[in-house]
């Protein structure tokens, strides 16, 4: 199972590298997506089989939280790969460009799968760095001056951050000499033996390192640039899955501190940076001129909310898992729709976009519905997860923090909602054609994502609840 997950995308990537044929590229993308979906379903039904060589088997494993993150990634990746068909057509890519895109996406997904499945801290680090390297080329894919700047900032800032995380890993191995192993299970089981001082120092380093990848304030500088300059399907993948996979790394490290009973230290860091992120996002949300940057700041905000949830310990974990799922799906839907808007108006400026509902009603309604999903209007599940996080604030005796939390959220909702409605309504300028159709693959992925969100929000299936609960059960 694990070998399939890791090798199929690479295999398809190699094929599309050799053949450089448009049909092969599409088969590679969609084929990998289908394989991933099948494996996710198999994991849900608890079907396991191992054909890994023995020396590899200890490094990779599906655990409860891994299955959850893998499922989220699969859903986003599948919708992105369908949307890519529209992206190929809309940008008139030649076979070679399509191949580069396909290979990079597949390698990127492999690296993220590696992060999710790693059972060894340093191996997780290797894969996190690999996600940076593989996605950097995707950010520069449109070969514009601004995308080059974004890609450079992204790859350099994240590499430095990740290098600091490696310093943290070495410091942890200083503190855990008696254990002499960086397997998560060994670290969890023998956490009491780790020297608390070194554990705290190493956590601070790993927090900064992985926090850079997660895009948490104040180390979020690369995130708005990279998300706004990448091709829209790639932005969806960055926001919906890349941030999550780095987050999973941090959750796994945080678990070591929980086992060593040092969580008060890490929780404080989570809470502080979480609130800082919502604040930064609220400050910028009102003055943005670029709608893709707006979505990027919204990602920072949601990562902040997730951090606050994590800091509340066992009260917040279920809400955190639900929020991760809901954020990934709604944000992927938003970014994919922003690709439609970019195609219709050829501009990322908010001022250039007017009367979206007249120009293309389907895109317009998807844009509005996805926005409602991300700002947490019922019945979408973000409402539920935010509600549960506020409840967790109450339960952990931090109820006064709910006041700034609500104030920032209201500012963000106001900023985002105002912008989106301004773009959706109004008149189309007379020289522009009305009621354009973009094709099936430009709408279907977002529809499916919103449909899944609605099902979760209105009546969560038992299977989904178990999945979330198992993932939340990872925390002790």
């Amino acid at each position: 199972m694990i070998s399939i997950v890791l090798f199929i995308p690479v295999l398809f990537g190699v094929i599309s590298l050799i053949v450089k044929n448009k049909i092969v590229n599409r088969i590679a993308l969609l084929g990998t997506a289908i394989v991933y979906i099948l494996i996710t379903i198999a994991q849900w039904l608890n079907i396991q089989w191992y054909i890994l060589p023995n020396w590899l088997i200890s490094y990779f494993q599906f655990d409860s939280i891994g299955i959850f993150f893998f499922s989220v990634m699969t859903i986003v990746f599948a919708s992105v790969s369908v949307y890519s068909l529209f992206y190929f057509k809309a940008h008139n890519l030649n076979a070679k460009q399509e191949s580069i895109y396909t290979i990079e996406i597949l390698l990127f997904v492999t690296a993220m799968t590696g992060v999710i499945l790693s059972t060894h801290l340093a191996l997780l680090w290797v894969f996190v760095e690999a996600t940076t390297l593989t996605s950097a080329i995707l950010i520069y894919f449109e070969k514009k001056k601004s995308s080059l700047e974004a890609a450079w900032k992204y790859v350099f800032i994240c590499s430095i951050g990740i290098a600091l995380a490696f310093v943290g890993i070495i410091l942890l191995s200083i503190g855990s000499r008696s254990i002499n192993s960086l397997y998560f299970n060994d670290l969890y089981n023998r956490a009491a033996e780790i020297n608390p001082f070194w554990l705290k120092v190493s956590f601070a380093f790993i927090f900064v390192g992985l926090g850079t990848k997660i895009g948490i304030a104040p180390i979020h500088a690369w995130l708005p640039d990279a998300h706004s300059e990448a091709p829209s399907p790639v932005s969806a993948l960055l926001s919906g899955t890349l941030l999550n996979s780095a987050l999973l790394g941090l959750i796994r490290v945080q678990e070591i501190l929980i086992h060593a009973h040092l969580e008060s230290f890490s929780n404080f860091l989570f809470l502080l940076t979480g609130f800082l992120s919502i604040m930064v996002s609220a400050v910028f949300m009102l003055r943005l001129k670029n709608y893709k940057r707006m979505l990027a700041y919204s990602s920072i905000e949601n990562m902040g909310i997730i951090f606050i949830g994590i800091s509340l310990g066992k009260f917040g974990v279920f809400a955190v898992m639900l929020h991760i799922l809901a954020h990934s799906l709604s944000k992927a839907s938003l970014f994919l729709t922003s690709g439609n808007i970019l195609h219709l108006y050829k501009s990322k400026k908010i001022d250039d976009v007017n009367g979206l509902l007249k120009k293309d009603p389907r895109t317009g309604w998807l844009w509005i519905a996805s926005t409602l999903a991300i700002i947490g209007m019922p019945p979408f599940p973000v409402f539920l997860s935010k509600f549960l996080i506020v409840k967790a604030l109450w339960l952990s005796g931090l109820s006064w923090l709910a006041i700034p939390f609500f104030i920032f959220l209201i500012i963000i909702t106001f900023g985002m909602g105002g912008t989106v409605f301004k773009m959706a309504f109004g008149e189309v300028s007379p020289e522009q054609p009305e009621d354009q159709r973009l094709g099936f693959s430009a709408y279907a992925p977002q529809l499916v994502l919103l449909f899944i969100l609605l099902i979760i929000g209105i009546n969560m299936p038992q299977q989904m609840f178990t999945l979330l609960n198992n993932a939340a059960g990872f925390f002790h």
């Binding site: 340093a122 191996l123 290797v126 690999a130 390297l133 080329i137 080059l148 700047e149 070495i170 191995s173």
Partner: protein, 211 residues
């Protein structure tokens, strides 16, 4: 013996603070690679030949020859001579460098007192390398200097990992090296593109994206 090598490593970092020719930085990088190689050879205590072979390939071939040669070629091709005036002037940089060194030695003394089982001088100087290269990245303007200082940062991390006796599994070692290698390769690709697209190759030209 190993102490002399480590002191030399620290001194090489001090030289970077004073120097302003970019080619000198590459030579320092190659020198650091050689010193790390010597350190590995002097320090060898283990019998596992696979690990030894890997370390020798990493330090001697990758860090001393391949990456410096690659970067030197890029510098010659783009005809980059000197570093442009940094944000904090050379004089104050050297002062800050001394402060970083002091901090490093304090860390070394402190590490000697704790029972963490780390080699004190390794620990102190590796902190010097890491902090100093981070400072240089923030202070210097040329993108190629950033890439070079990133390599020095990696050298510092390598030294830090030598200060700990614990070993990483081979798979992880190979992965780390591969990431480093691909990373440098990618940095240079982007550097060349920036050189083509912008006039000037320092970070002040990157101002397209802001809020």
């Amino acid at each position: 013996m190993s102490n002399i090598i480590i002191i030399l490593l620290g001194t090489s970092m001090l030289y970077v603070f004073a120097a302003s020719r970019i080619e000198a930085y590459v030579k320092i990088l190659a020198l650091q690679g050689t010193l790390l190689f010597l350190l590995v050879v002097v320090d060898i205590k283990e019998i596992n030949w696979l690990n030894i072979a890997f370390l020798i390939v990493e330090t001697l071939i990758i860090k001393t020859i391949v990456i410096p040669y690659f970067l030197l070629k890029v510098i010659r091709k783009n005809e980059i001579g000197r570093e442009i005036e940094p944000y904090i002037s050379q004089f104050y940089s050297v002062l800050i460098a001394s402060a970083i060194f002091m901090f490093g030695f304090v860390a070394a003394f402190w590490a000697a007192k704790t029972n963490a089982g780390i080699k004190p001088l390794y620990f102190g100087i590796s902190i010097v390398l890491i902090v100093a290269s981070l400072f240089l990245i923030v202070n210097r303007k040329r993108i190629i200097t950033h890439i070079l200082c990133y390599m020095m940062l990696e050298n510092g991390i390598f030294l830090l990992s030598l200060s700990v006796a614990n070993e990483m599994p081979m798979l992880v070692n190979i992965g780390v090296l591969l990431d480093l290698f691909v990373g440098i390769f990618l940095f240079v690709i982007f550097f060349n593109k920036i050189q083509e697209m912008y006039d000037g190759n320092h970070i002040d030209v990157l101002t397209e994206l802001k809020d």
